[in-house]
């Protein structure tokens, strides 16, 4: 009985210790790919914060909590960069940030899926992320991808809702470089 208790305690400590907290390095990127007039364009957010706790063998103890400063968007086109923060698109004066928080992790075949809720422009919707976690030394790289529909979140209202010019599908990608938390 004592041994069983010790094992349980060790397992409990072990599982928490295994699902490690990581520090997100500055060289990490988070962005998206949209389409305009039939051609893809890439955007990235210069400012975001991500709290990453992850272990592929203890998925239940893993969690992502990401906050994105929407006004830090860059798409390589000054006209577009001026449009995106306006009311028709991100409307940063009303909601300056987007937020994603995981609710559970599960495996689908070989893939790890992080289910959570994305809140963008005041709209909260369930979003599943594909997760690729690669340990590198004491840290790791974490690649995230998912696909959302911009109109689900009211990105591009009025005349900009026309999906024949601005595609509805938007791919979201992040490449995080994780270091051990000090």
């Amino acid at each position: 009985m004592n041994r069983l208790f010790t094992l349980l305690v060790l397992w409990a400590i072990g599982s928490n210790a295994l699902a490690a907290d990581y520090r997100v390095e500055r060289s990490s990127t988070l962005g998206f790919t949209g389409t305009f007039q039939g051609e893809e364009f890439n955007g990235s957010f210069a400012r975001f914060e991500a709290q990453i706790r992850y272990d592929s063998s203890v998925l239940d103890a893993s969690s992502f909590d990401v906050t994105i400063d929407l006004s830090s968007v860059h798409t390589g086109d000054s006209d577009r960069d001026e449009m995106l923060p306006t009311a028709e698109f991100f409307d940063t004066s009303t909601s300056a940030t987007a937020h994603f928080k995981t609710s559970r992790f599960y495996k689908s075949g070989n893939e790890v899926i992080a289910s959570g809720t994305l809140t963008l422009k005041g709209v909260s919707k369930p979003v599943d992320l594909n997760v690729t976690f690669t340990p590198v030394g004491a840290g790791a790289t974490l690649d995230i991808s998912t696909r959302i529909k911009r109109l689900d979140f009211g990105i591009g209202t009025g005349e900009y809702a026309d999906t024949s010019t601005i595609g509805n599908d938007v791919q979201i990608k992040a490449h995080l470089k994780l270091g051990p938390k000090a």
Binding site: G38, E39, G76, D77, D79, E159, S164, T165
Partner: protein, 191 residues
């Protein structure tokens, strides 16, 4: 009406290519002048897209037209002084050159500026080059200057045709008009 040109008049293929391109070029010129002053928004984006689509169409029609012209025979020049004949042919040569250079300078501007190029929302065409601000500015200015020069050449082209039609009263204009009856001249050559 014959598809191919004869000694006295242009065939219907040459005629329709001429008038279709004339309409597209003049329409696109007007669109171009309007669109640059539009306020930012989806309408402006769409009008730009239509301008680019029409420009690409002109370019495609030009290729067809040059190919057809190499296969087709050419009507004889109407009787006219040598300087007029030379001026008319020089004007035509420059018009062909501009019908090539104006769409290509627009395409270059679009590419160097990093914009997509889509033909009437149906398919996309590749960029001619990587993004480059200096070339983008140069190509935009070239595109516009060539357009203003084209207008001057068109004044000569249209003016020449009208002078021949109204004052010389020959078939210079009529032989390019679909459905028009040629005027009979001394030779009595009518078709």
């Amino acid at each position: 009406m014959a598809l191919k040109s004869s000694d006295t008049r242009w065939g219907s293929i040459a005629q329709w290519l001429h008038w279709l391109m004339a309409l597209a070029i003049i329409g696109n010129g007007i669109l171009g002048l309007i669109m640059v002053d539009m306020s930012r928004g989806m309408t402006k984006l769409n009008v730009f897209a239509i301008h680019k689509s029409i420009g690409l169409t002109v370019l495609a029609l030009l290729i067809l037209r040059v190919c057809w012209r190499m296969l087709d025979r050419k009507p004889r020049d109407e009787p006219m002084p040598r300087w007029q004949r030379l001026a008319a042919h020089a004007t035509h040569a420059v018009l062909y050159l501009f019908m090539l250079a104006i769409p290509l300078s627009g395409w270059t501007y679009n590419s160097a500026h990093g914009n997509p190029l889509q033909w009437f929302k149906l398919f996309n065409l590749p960029a001619l080059m990587e993004r480059n601000d200096a070339i983008s500015d140069l190509a935009r200015d070239t595109h516009e200057v060539l357009f203003w020069i084209l207008l001057l050449i068109l004044v000569a082209h249209v003016g020449g045709a009208l002078v021949h039609h109204v004052f010389t009263r020959d078939n210079t204009l009529l032989r390019m008009l679909p459905f028009a009856r040629l005027r009979s001249r001394n030779s009595g050559d009518q078709s």
